[in-house]
């Protein structure tokens, strides 16, 4: 699903956030991404979603070389990815329902279909009762869950999650991870950046690990060889 081919990312200003990163996440695979604060986890995910472009190397998303995608094609790439952002990125002037419905509206989905899917997604993150609340009136964890609902509502082929449980209590974190697991079981590829090493251990999925922009652990090579 995702293949990084010797990817480096240098930010304007000269900081090298990623340095020669190679890995391959097979289709339908779930994996974790770890590393200290500032190791480059978010940068790695941003490269996949084309929020940043790599300085060197090539990224293949489902066989497509992202370097060859023009700016005006980016929206269509993003529509097939569900992204959970580290800082939620909710629309503050729309309520929870409208936030979650956004990806469907953007891709021109029918009205009845929208409402059915949004409710299903909200149900999965246990927020059906907050449907009409504005994001600003939600607790940190609730906002995070709205972001998760929005990422899964259009049933993307790939799910990227950046610290999806940073604001959640251990119990809820576990539940959310299990939600991702269920998605993975119906064929969605999932990549989750997380600090919660205990939970990661518990879930038992392959881990790739960054340290100062370099890959220092890559369980996926084993998996890749296997599949």
């Amino acid at each position: 699903m995702i293949r990084f081919d010797n990817i480096s990312k240098q930010y304007p200003g000269g900081f090298e956030a990623l340095l020669g990163v190679n890995y391959h996440l097979p289709r339908g695979q779930m994996a974790y991404l770890t590393g200290h604060s500032g190791a480059g986890k978010s940068t790695l995910l941003k490269l996949i979603a084309m929020i940043e472009r790599p300085s060197r190397g090539q990224i293949f998303l489902d066989g497509v070389n992202l370097n060859q995608i023009g700016t005006n094609k980016i929206p269509y790439i993003r529509r097939n990815i569900g992204i959970i952002f580290q800082n939620h990125q909710l629309l503050n002037d729309r309520n929870v329902y409208q936030n979650v419905a956004m990806p469907l509206i953007i891709s021109g989905c029918r009205h009845q279909e929208v409402s059915k899917r949004v409710r299903a997604a909200l149900d999965q993150v246990d927020l059906l009762n907050k449907e009409n609340a504005m994001p600003i009136t939600l607790s940190g964890g609730e906002q995070q869950r709205v972001g998760i609902a929005r990422a899964i509502v259009h049933k993307p082929a790939l799910l990227l999650a950046d610290e999806p449980t940073g604001n959640l209590d251990p119990e809820l974190s576990k539940e959310i991870m299990q939600l991702f697991e269920r998605f993975n079981q119906v064929g969605v590829s999932v990549l989750i950046a997380s600090h919660d090493l205990n939970l990661i251990d518990e879930m038992g999925y392959p881990v790739i690990s960054l340290d100062d922009g370099q890959l220092v652990r890559n369980d996926l090579t084993l998996v890749g060889a296997k599949s």
Binding site: R78, R79, I83, H154
Partner: protein, 320 residues
Amino acid sequence: MAKTPERGVKIQKNSPLKAYFLHHARVFVSSLGELTRRPIASMMTITVIAIALALPSGMYLFLHNVNQISADWDSSAQMSLFIKNNVSQRKVERLANRLNLRNDIESTKIITPEEALDDFVRISGFGDALNSLDKNPLPSVIVIQPIVDNQKPLQVSQLLNDMKKLPEVDIAQLDLEWVKRLYTMLDIANRAVWVISILLGIAVLLTVGNTIRLDIQSRKEEIIVIKLIGATNAFIRRPFLYTGLWYGLIGSLLALILTNIALSLISTPIQKLASLYNSNFELIGLSFDNSLMLIITSCILSLGGSWLAVGRQLSKIEPS
């Protein structure tokens, strides 16, 4: 991913064309909704636009009406040709008829020496002595009513020169020089209205552009978010363009209302003024065509302003 059967495709979509129009209609209405949700803020922008539009149309009307009034006064812009004494009465009549054919002369009127003397007697009030004259000392006079074209105030001078050159004519004299001066002033004022209209048109463009620009700025976060989840630039641009259109539309309607209120307010004093001069003058309002022009101009300017703002701003806002 683009190559594989997309999961997203499973979503039941409308037919593309229908979806497109539905979406446009929805954005068109919802952008109006946005404006009404912040009524005071929207009214500030709209009022500025309306003032900027009402002023040139008001001034246009003012000048249009003054032109109209002064057209009434054209009758005063007469020319008197004092005919040489040795020209016979018949020749004077022939000359008058000939002049009548000129396309810069509206009409001619002959004042015979007898009539002139009668007038003079009447004005001076002392007829007895003059009546006792054995020979009328006064010349024939042909009074010419020129056709005055506001756009060409010099034509009348030209006509005057022509008249002076006629062999039969002793003295040719324009009765009311001031009419020419008035036309010169009106001409300058007309040009001024054009300049002012252009300046205020720029003001409308900038006002809408500025409002939309700041609007975009204040929605920067939202725009980033919505780009992050796969919205195209066109999708993001649309509501702003429609908002600009609404500003222009409502602003021009308000301008029309303002202009017509102003018109009805000054109509009474103007009517009174006109009656003072025994003029059956009717105040001219904005015609349907004028109004339509104003609305269309306003919409185009506003749309242009928001287009500029959106173009400049949207490309600057990218998630990072």
